[in-house]
Symmetry: C2
Subunit: 204 residues, 2 copies
């Protein structure tokens, strides 16, 4: 073999994700990525076919961490809760890439595999196929909505900005310092209310 490679698909993926986490999705450029790897931009294309493709690979890597094993016990409620929490945790670890992840989850192998498990678990739990599809979709709504429109990255650090303008919002709990906790609690509230509502529906 000629020349030992200093690049690899895995190293590129790792560096790309690091840049995205640090500089945002728009902060990732092939030139910057190459530069941080000690290489010229053109060299990347020996390992990655396209920037879009690279992003999909990074996306798949993140989605691999979503755990749907909670459905194995046969309890669809526990399956739903644990899967949603795992999903959210995976997204919350890399919030900057969520907008990309949210675009067309149904085209992603890793996403479909998990969706299939969720769907199967729901049907096994007594839901119709159509209902299972809708519930799985709702789960994605919640998870992606929570990861995307989170408070953490939403409100200004300057509390006085909200004072007088929005009488109901001028509260300390909107400060970014507690926003992370609020995001978590809001997601838990939404998730539990959703599952509770589903359970109520199955009983009637």
């Amino acid at each position: 073999m000629p020349r030992s490679p200093i690049l690899s698909a895995s190293r590129i993926r790792t560096a790309a994700l690091h840049i995205i986490d640090r500089d945002g999705l728009d902060g990732l450029s092939m030139r910057k990525l190459a530069s941080e790897l000690g290489v010229q931009a053109a060299s990347l294309y020996g390992h990655v076919s396209t920037k879009d493709d690279l992003l999909h690979e990074v996306a798949a890597q993140i989605l691999e961490q979503v755990d749907v094993s909670g459905f194995e016990g046969g309890d669809w409620r526990y399956g739903l809760l644990s899967c949603a929490r795992s999903y959210r945790a995976a997204l919350a670890a890399h919030p900057n890439i969520v907008p990309f992840l949210a675009y067309g989850p149904a085209h992603r192998e890793a996403s479909l595999r998990r969706l299939d498990v969720v769907h199967g678990g729901l049907v096994a739990g007594g839901w119709s196929r159509r209902e299972a599809t809708m519930i799985a979709a709702s789960l994605l709504y919640l998870v992606f909505g929570a990861a995307l429109s989170s408070f953490s990255s939403g409100f200004s650090e300057d509390q006085t900005f909200y004072r007088d303008r929005y009488p109901n919002l001028d509260k300390a709990h909107l400060l970014p310092s507690v926003a992370r906790e609020l995001d978590h609690d809001s997601f838990e509230l939404a998730l539990e209310a959703f599952v509770t509502g589903l359970a109520a529906r199955v009983r009637s």
Copy 2:
């Protein structure tokens, strides 16, 4: 006054939204926008400070259509349901701009004004301020999640793609032809389950 203007902020906004609806968010460039307005790209900057700013103006215009008057009757459940439906309808009318809309809704004047109303309506309905904040956040999760990770733009038209690969997903109801209806029904399911779950919580 010199020379009658052929450009205006409003005309630019309208054309921009039209391009976004037709060609997607990435399909909007200042040069293309200018071209469709019969003008050179630089001319746009007399009416719009920045492309990002233009997008925010378009976003605000869309958010203005969200109706939160449902809270006026004093019934927080109805308020929540009607506001969520109105919100989703506004987003679903222009799905391509949703990824931009989802990014930092808390920085947008129009969004905050509505959030304030929702928050107030929930507090008036007996929820604590913190609970009201979390419920409002949950509502955004649902609405943006539904608008963003919708089935309509998710699954392949080619049904055979899913056959054998994902045994639980190989169903006719995943076809894009019915995906729009499925999206709507899934959102309704999620929304009603969520509100039902909240009502159950308030009763206990």
